[in-house]
């Protein structure tokens, strides 16, 4: 169904090399159309995994912009380079021994204190996350704010490669969310109660009974089961 009329084609430059591709394609599909087979730089193809981070400049613009290759449509005159990996060290910790406070971030990621509040990270984010705001929230120990603001992060790494203070925001975000869920929110009572009931064997007899039914009786039970939605 791809329309290949010359009038619908645009020119793109993949790592400097010129290609003519249909203008309706995403960067990812345009690169494939041009003959690239991805081994790196391609993942879920749907905006959920962050493996296709891409930087580009468009014709006549000085701005260096970031996008996910699977989510961005090509433009005429676009210069493209993928950044399939951002060099960054994730620090090792034992969640059981951490405390939900600012000091934890400073201990594991001391470079967080270098944040200049320049907002470059936020501008680089293809998910439109307020990256600088969550870094600042972590710095002042507001774990809830850091966790919630960063929730939609897919870890593409574009913030980390742009940060002039060389912070890796997505690692800080991951630590914030785990601290928040584990220590600020904590376990859910109904879950713990049900786990205990299962361990006590409370449901074994009824499930055994269902397992022992013939197909017809089982179907009858299924079709007539009570629904509470």
């Amino acid at each position: 169904m791809m329309d290949e009329k010359e009038s619908d084609m645009v020119t793109i430059y993949v790592m400097g090399k010129r290609y003519r591709v249909p203008g309706s394609l995403t960067i990812m599909k345009a690169m494939e159309y041009a003959g690239h087979q991805f081994r790196r730089g391609c993942g879920c193809r749907g905006g959920f995994c962050g493996s296709c981070a891409t930087i580009y400049r468009t014709k006549g613009s000085y701005k260096l912009q970031g996008a996910l290759a699977c989510q961005k449509i090509v433009e005429d005159g676009m210069y493209i380079a993928q950044i399939p990996f951002s060099p960054a060290e994730k620090r090792i910790y034992d969640l059981d021994e951490l405390r939900p406070e600012a000091g934890t971030f400073l201990e594991y990621y001391p470079e967080i204190a270098r944040c200049l509040s320049c907002n470059t990270c936020t501008k680089a984010c293809p998910q439109d996350i307020m990256v600088m705001d969550y870094v600042q929230a972590a710095l002042r120990g507001d774990i809830e704010e850091a966790a919630k603001l960063s929730f939609d992060c897919i870890g593409c790494g574009l913030c980390a490669v742009r940060c002039p203070a060389e912070i890796v925001p997505y690692n800080i975000a991951q630590l914030a969310r785990r601290l928040y869920a584990r220590y600020v929110v904590g376990p859910t009572e109904q879950v713990l109660k049900r786990v205990e009931e299962v361990e006590e064997g409370k449901f074994d007899e009824e499930i055994d009974e269902l397992k022992g039914l013939d197909r017809e009786t089982l179907q009858e039970r299924y079709e007539t089961r009570e629904k509470r939605l």
């Binding site: 169904m1 309706s24 599909k29 494939e32 159309y33 041009a34 690239h36 087979q37 991805f38 081994r39 790196r40 391609c42 993942g43 879920c44 193809r45 749907g46 905006g47 959920f48 995994c49 493996s51 989510q71 961005k72 449509i73 994730k90 090792i92 910790y93 969640l95 439109d128 929730f151 939609d152 897919i154 870890g155 991951q174 969310r177 785990r178 601290l179 869920a181 584990r182 929110v185 376990p187 859910t188 009572e189 109904q190 879950v191 049900r194 786990v195 299962v198 449901f203 009824e206 499930i207 269902l210 397992k211 089982l218 179907q219 299924y222 079709e223 089961r225 009570e226 509470r228 939605l229």
Partner: protein, 546 residues
């Protein structure tokens, strides 16, 4: 401002016009007989010319889509004589193939059950955590609500699966579900909660209770990234961009590791292991019957091909899950998932006249069939400029029913991904059509996640039996952790006792003999590792000089 072309505007106006009257209304659910009939008439699984009986191996005679039979009735992708089995690159207790939700759970539990982190090796075709697990949006089931129980969950699973599930696997799925949620919370997964601290729960297609736990519409992303973070904290060995291409066996008839392939350098590596766990996921990228797919780039069915090469028994591959609501517009995102949670929170499928035509929460196979019938049986679909047909999924209802701001709060991914292509789902519906989503069948396992071949374990989507002939929403996420954790435990136990003999690839000679005996002449090879999306001109002019 509208994101749809002029040709679709008239139908959009009808949807808007009928919307106020549809609030609080629903189409009636189908009877058992009606469901049987619509599946037979409209579900892709029932198209006789689209499937065939497998001609070789222990599961010969099993019927499956041509695309799946094609990767099984194929030669191995490697040349065994080129592999030096005495040059062992990795010698470990537990080898895990695949780093999605199942593989990560295997690794964590193998370590907790006494295997040294250096004696575990996880290999992954793409990046750590890059898998369908991460793309799951709507949620994960667990019967922990006061008015729910694992017994009710069991009945939903078995009925939804058309009574074809392996009962003992379905039982484990529902009984271990609450503990999976407990485990996730302990690891720091942010589940959606209500003001009072209880879980925010939603129904799913075919559930009889509100049982869906979610993390906005990034449920799989949130769980996977936490597991990856924990995996890295534990110091377990792993290699990215390195996949398994064949299992190794030994002279005792056990699986004893795998031949790996480095995707960057094209070199092979021999990995010897006492326990080998297959967690490679499904086959969406085989594009069964030409359907678009929601699946990850790496979902090429490698696991079933490799497992069949060592003679592992398969099951239920005659049934494939088509998710009812894949995007049908715009062109750039055709086939991508529009989460079932959109329907559980009140959006409705409507036809070109703005009319309801199906209960929004039928099981996925029935719901998908109803959408196909509406488009192709009744011609009540909406046609896009490229000729794609679809029906509307009326999303603005979600905010009308649940209050302004619900979409923004609970559907961040959907809102964002459609906004990027000019469609605001708070104000306009989505256009949807069924899309290839899940491999219902696969490698047969027992309650210890052992396959029929000693030394080979399996967990997650690559397996068959848990979901029967149709999986319910939220049960695949659950499956990953229930069976991934079990596989980790039992693989660790086996590794403590097992010893590996002399390595061999003799099973590949046997496979060639099966092919020859069945008179199968083909140049197909498997596993295929990556789907082929390069432009036609490139492929026609390809030389391999380097």
């Amino acid at each position: 401002m509208t994101g749809y072309p002029e040709s679709m505007q008239e139908s959009l106006r009808l949807v808007e016009k009928t919307r106020p009257d549809r609030v609080g209304k629903s189409f009636r659910a189908m009877t058992a007989d009606e469901k049987d009939q619509i599946l037979r008439d409209w579900h892709p699984d029932f198209k006789e010319d689209q499937k065939r009986a497998l001609r070789i191996g222990p599961s010969s005679g099993q019927v499956m889509p041509h695309e799946v039979a094609n990767i099984l009735e194929a030669h191995t992708a490697i040349t065994p004589s080129e592999i030096d089995l005495t040059d062992v690159a990795y010698d470990v207790d537990v080898l895990i193939i695949g780093a999605g939700g199942a593989g990560l759970s295997v690794a964590l539990l193998a370590q907790e059950n006494g295997v040294d982190p250096d004696s575990i090796l996880m290999v992954q075709k793409l990046r750590l955590g890059d898998a369908n697990s991460k793309m799951s949006q709507g949620g994960i089931q667990a019967a922990d609500a006061p008015d729910d129980s694992p017994v009710i969950h069991y009945l939903d699973v078995i009925g939804g699966g058309h009574y074809a599930n392996k009962p003992e696997l379905a039982e484990l799925l529902v009984k271990e579900a609450p503990d999976v949620i407990r485990w996730h919370e302990e690891l720091g997964v942010m589940y959606d909660k209500l003001e009072d601290g209880s879980m925010q729960l939603a129904p799913g297609g075919g559930t009889s209770r509100k049982r869906m736990h979610s993390c906005k519409d990034y449920t799989g992303l949130e769980i996977t990234r936490v597991l990856v973070d924990e995996f890295l904290n534990r110091g377990i060995s792993y290699v990215e961009f390195t996949c398994a291409v064949e299992f190794l066996m030994d002279d005792k008839g056990q699986v004893a590791g795998a031949v790996l392939y480095d995707m960057d350098s094209d070199e092979y590596l021999v990995a010897r292991a006492k326990s080998t766990v297959l967690a490679t996921g499904g086959f969406g990228r085989l594009h069964i019957q030409g359907f678009e797919t929601t699946n990850h780039y790496g979902a090429t069915g490698d696991g079933i091909a490799m497992a069949y090469h060592v003679g592992a028994v398969l099951r239920d591959l005659d049934s494939t899950q088509f998710h009812p609501t894949g995007a049908a517009y715009p062109e750039q995102i055709i086939g991508q998932l529009c989460t079932e949670k959109l329907r559980t929170r009140g959006s409705q499928p409507v036809n070109k006249f703005g009319e309801l035509f199906v209960y929004p929460l039928e099981t996925r196979d029935v719901e998908a069939s109803a959408l196909i019938r509406e488009c192709y049986g009744r011609d009540n679909g909406i046609v896009t400029p490229t000729g794609m047909r679809g029906v509307w999924l009326d999303t603005p209802l979600i905010d009308i029913i649940n209050g302004e701001g619900t979409i923004e709060r609970e559907f961040a991914a959907m809102l964002r991904n459609f906004n990027k292509f000019g469609i605001n789902i708070r104000e306009e519906p989505m256009l949807v059509f069924p899309t290839l989503h899940y491999q219902n069948g696969g490698v047969e396992i027992n309650t210890h996640c052992e396959t029929s071949v000693p030394g080979l374990f399996a967990a997650g989507e690559v397996c068959g039996g848990v979901h029967g002939k149709n999986r319910l929403m939220g049960n695949s996420q659950l499956d990953l952790y229930v069976f991934g954790r079990r596989a980790g435990r039992f693989a660790a136990e086996r590794a403590k006792k097992a010893s590996v003999g002399k390595l061999t690839l003799g099973h590949l000679d046997r496979y060639e003999k099966w092919l020859a005996d069945a008179g199968i002449e083909t140049d197909r090879k498997a596993p295929i590792l990556l789907p082929e999306y390069r432009g036609k001109r490139t492929l026609e002019h390809q030389l391999k000089l380097l």
